[in-house]
Symmetry: C2
Subunit: 221 residues, 2 copies
DNA sequence: CTGGGGAGAACGGTATACCGTTCCCGGAAT
DNA sequence: ATTCCGGGAACGGTATACCGTTCTCCCCAG
């Protein structure tokens, strides 16, 4: 599956365009996203843009000033810590809940893993990595849990994009490491009880943070 | 700081009105909330109503059909289980994170407790109860954690409103029980380590669920 | 009585326009 | 040079209008 577009509404496609621009770093952090300007640039009216901005706010990519102006989100190391803490809580829970279902059918995870093994850029690996985790959340059967996780995903994309842009990560090493770790996770789901899967996820995320090229440099202009 | 109103926007006030109607049960579950009809009724245009509906969707009080029509949320017992599971995860985490701050200053919790002791209706107790928990989330220092919890609060209000409307709960018993439990929680924060506070919150929530007059009757027309 | 089809009403998506507020920059006073 | 102030441009909040789609209900055929 690659499509996922299906966004017939201008609001959705406007959100897609802006999301892409923000995550790729084409829109500088702190930059004003004036409704009229964006609308003009995208060739639509302000209404869909307005909705798109609200969506992006929910995703954490945009923040509003007290007077209602939208800006590209600024990220601080503290923000990352918050995200990390929440992943560390939500994902092990999801793993425990999803274990029974994934024991019966881990084919979606397997497909993702196969795709990851073929990935040819860090960007691709990162996207598939997040997708892998989202599959576990989805398999948890708790729709709200998945929704909460998704509300964090935009910021995650943003962070990873910035980090990897700054540090030219090694594609091969990144990919192999990801594949190996995910392989182990799938095997756990197939053979170990839910509690073990939960703990493994926790360690996986701890390791993920360890591995990230985190530095407290300036927020990147 | 006491205000917090400041909602000059029609969108916000429209959301408030609708929220109140939904939580109080004046708007039946499944009822269509047509933009034009609501706008007409509230004496505003469709634009602010539209935004209000999106806000309420984020709060879980409204759901959209595939074609974009807004309906008052229908709740099933499974929905409640999801909420319960998430509280059971998020709140102990928040308690652990908030413990250091609350050890230094639990005055907000104390004030809430005093108010609760004076409450004269189940509705009041319930509102103050949720407020108590939200104070802990706020004290965790993790803004996103608080945001996640808040995104569940609307549904919680909705559930509790329905349950208590159906079962005429005893005000005095409810209040005394709540005060006692919250008293213990505050004391833990003052004297025990974060891990103990975390566990207590977990038990508190387990007890809360136990106590609720849950029944699998029809979804209540 | 039941199922299918069509017409009209209902509804949401979007464009455009207006208004009050906020923002920003330059000039004047210190 | 710095601060304060004012005015015009920029921006968001809202109202209104139009259009295509979806719903709904009734009528007709079986």
């Amino acid at each position: 599956m690659q499509g996922s577009q299906a966004s017939l509404s201008l609001a959705d496609s406007a959100a897609s365009v802006l999301r892409e621009e923000i995550v790729r770093g084409l829109a500088a952090p702190g930059m004003l996203l004036a409704e009229a300007a964006v609308a003009d640039r995208l060739g639509v009216s302000r209404v869909p843009v307005r909705e798109a901005l609200f969506s992006l706010e929910r995703e954490g990519l945009v923040e509003f000033s007290a007077t209602g102006r939208a800006f590209v989100r600024e990220l601080t190391p503290a923000d990352f810590e918050e995200l990390f803490t929440l992943r560390l809580t939500l994902e092990p829970l999801a793993a425990a809940l999803a274990a029974p279902a994934l024991r019966l059918d881990a084919s979606a995870l397997e497909r993702n893993l196969a795709d990851t093994a073929r990935a040819e850029s860090v960007r691709e690996v990162t996207a598939l990595d997040l997708e892998f985790h989202e599959l576990i959340l989805a398999a948890s059967g708790n729709a709200r849990l998945l929704k909460l996780w998704r509300s964090l995903r935009g910021e995650l994309d943003l962070w990873l994009g910035r980090l990897h842009r700054r540090h030219q990560s090694q594609t091969r090493a990144t990919r192999d490491q990801t594949v190996e770790a995910h392989r182990e996770i799938i095997d756990f789901f197939q053979t170990r009880p839910p509690a073990a899967c939960s703990k493994l996820l926790r360690h996986h995320i701890l390791g993920w943070r360890e591995w990230l090229p985190l530095t407290q440099e300036e927020p990147l202009a």
